[in-house]
């Protein structure tokens, strides 16, 4: 700097033509500059369409294939082996388990480990050779009707084709030499709302809980109260728990409201323990609150916190099995889905409400939710800035 006076430009006061256009241009430039500084908004603009495109294009499949299937074979014959081999060959089923007992099969279905159980009854081969049209039993987890529909439709053709090559089996003339007895479990009438209402519950809780805590730290920073708070003797863990706890109650009331409405208006039953459902719903609420709080410690301001929450919310909706069948997604998408709390909560809610699952059936998703909560809390406490540096 020098002591010389700043020269006043002589052209400064000259009027230009089209002043309106100049003002518009000034605004245009200013908006662009601000947009460029706001990196998270910029990332949102790129990331959200890209994510939507990739997820809808590659991960989502409304005609799901490779659905996990268990086989319970009561006999060991060339016919039973041919059926298992044929199931393994189709793209609809993926035989992941061979069962020994009925109990095993029931547990797998309740826990959601498999979606179908194909049971070949004892004496199936003999009855078939005699032309007695024996029954092949198939039990389907029909909590998500979309996921099981197509696969069930294809089953008859798959089995007929497998048997056609075998010796001594009567050739099908007008109808198949066997019949398929379907047993749609948990949602026999394939009512979509029985699946949707628990899903909506999880989705609403995810969105509201994330936002509540995502704003909590950034709000204190923006309003200037953080400086005062940090100068007082309080620890990051205490700040976090103190901010999360009130919303657990809020979330619980919200959940109760949806349960009651679901029960009264949509006739959605609660087959299992209401206490277990309440407890695990609280856990799920806490998971989302912790994740929202973590965003709050990472974001610079409230807008960024909202944007982060939204970017997290989107895969929760698309990859959790809420909108599209989980089992139909490619493996990589399933791995992403496993890291999302809604995926596990859906298994819990559908299990308890529709299948009457107990804690042992849904121990895995419950543990996953606990793990996600602890990871989020650890990140939040370590990321919480104790100073203004």
């Amino acid at each position: 700097m020098t002591g010389d006076p700043v020269p006043v430009p002589q052209t400064a006061r000259r009027h230009i033509r089209l002043p309106g256009l100049a003002r518009l241009w000034a605004m245009f430039i200013k908006e662009f500059l601000q947009l460029r500084r706001d990196r998270v908004t910029f990332a949102t603009m790129i990331f959200i369409p890209l994510m939507q495109l990739l997820l809808f294009g590659f991960a989502i499949n409304t005609q799901p294939k490779n659905l996990p299937t268990a086989v319970l074979s009561q006999e060991n014959t060339d016919v039973s082996r041919a059926i298992v081999a044929a199931l393994k060959n189709t793209s609809y089923f993926s035989v992941t388990r061979i069962a020994g007992t009925e109990q095993e099969v029931d547990h797998w279905l309740r826990a959601g480990t498999v979606q179908f159980v194909v049971e070949i009854p004892a004496g199936f081969e003999r009855a078939l050779r005699r032309g007695e049209t024996p029954s092949l039993l198939i039990a389907a987890d029909a909590t998500d009707p979309v996921a099981s529909g197509t696969a069930l439709g294809s089953l008859s053709g798959v089995v007929s084709h497998a048997l056609a090559g075998l010796h001594g089996i009567p050739k099908a003339q007008t109808s198949a030499p066997f019949e398929i007895r379907q047993h749609r479990r948990y949602n026999p009438a394939s009512v979509t709302r029985l699946n949707i209402v628990p899903g909506i519950l999880g989705t609403i809780l995810t969105m509201t809980m994330l936002i509540f805590t995502a704003l909590s730290v950034t709000r204190e920073i923006e309003r200037g109260t953080m400086e005062n708070l940090l100068s007082m003797p309080i620890r990051p863990l205490e700040v976090m728990l103190g901010k999360i706890a009130p919303y657990i109650l809020v979330g619980f009331l919200q959940a109760a409201l949806i349960f009651i409405a679901g029960y009264l208006i949509f006739d959605v039953p609660v087959e299992g323990s209401l206490l277990l459902l309440s407890g695990l719903s609280m856990l799920f609420i806490t998971t989302n609150l912790s994740i929202g709080y973590t965003f709050s410690t990472l974001a610079q301001n409230q807008l960024q916190a909202i944007q982060m929450s939204f970017m997290f919310f989107l895969p929760n909706i698309l990859l959790s099995g809420f909108m599209f069948p989980f089992a139909g997604m490619p493996v990589w998408a399933q791995w992403v889905g496993e890291a999302l709390p809604l995926t596990h909560y859906l298994r819990i809610v559908r299990g308890i409400m529709l299948k009457g699952s107990g804690l042992t059936d849904i121990a895995h998703p419950a543990m996953m939710l606990t793990a996600l909560t602890l990871v989020a809390m650890t990140i939040a406490v370590t990321r919480f800035r104790r100073t203004l540096d």
């Binding site: 700097m1 309003r223 200037g224 109260t225 953080m226 400086e227 005062n228 940090l230 100068s231 007082m232 003797p233 309080i234 100073t387 203004l388 540096d389």
Partner: protein, 310 residues
Amino acid sequence: MTAAPEIAIEVEGLTKSFGDKTVVKDLSMHVERGQIYGFLGPNGSGKTTTIRMLCGLLTPDAGHGTCLGYDILTESDKIKPRVGYMTQRFSLYQDLSIRENLEFVARLYGLANPKRQAREAIARLGLSGREEQLAGELSGGWKQRLALGACILPSPDLLLLDEPTAGVDPKARRDFWNEIHGLAADGLTVLVSTHYMDEAERCHEIAYIAYGTLLARGTVEEVIASANLETWTVSGPDLHDLADKLLAADGIDMVAPFGSSLHVAGRDHGALEAAIAPWRGDTRFTWTSSGATLEDVFIDLMSRSQDNFQ
């Protein structure tokens, strides 16, 4: 409790940079217990940064020291419960009432019976009957009183006040200072940053900081004496014109208008006399030799450090 140390703040070589901008440079200070220590300097000189380093809100890049006998680098958990920090910007919850804010502070510091503590604080502040009013609705003066009330609620040993009276009317400022003196008489140490010269003169000791460097410290008299500034007050017509001419003359370090007069100052007695000689005889002007005021000294310090800074 251990015997209270006689020294409230003792820091050496504090340095803090943000990016490539050094905000506080090699700052040392020493504040005794029960003192009101004034912290002065222009905007952006590093006062707030220094205060934040003292209470553990910022980590110094270099330097060390103690606050209330605890290491500022490693023991900020022990410092925080005993320090009341009043931020420059009102930082209580605007959407909570006066009572709720005070109860929050009382609970956070683990005081017994927070409701009663808050009620008593409200009575002390003269806010009885308004306890349910939202803090955000208070006027500037009352916000400042409330903030001070919240700071002293946990009976701290040290108060750090960052420009507490900015934007507050003279009456409220005077009341505020009376209160500060009362607290200091009870043994509380107060470090207060300010821009007001009259406030600086109400401090036991002052430190002047500019561009992150401590330029002068001591009692008001000591600071004025150490500046070694000789000052003349001149009154008369066309002072603006005269000021321009005087500034151009050698031997004059500072010219500042004060209402209908000018303060003209220089560090070298002979050079100053020589410089003003051409106008001394002009009958239109009245010249009086006056002692330098604190403000003269600060403006001189500031302009000199600015020269160094550039």
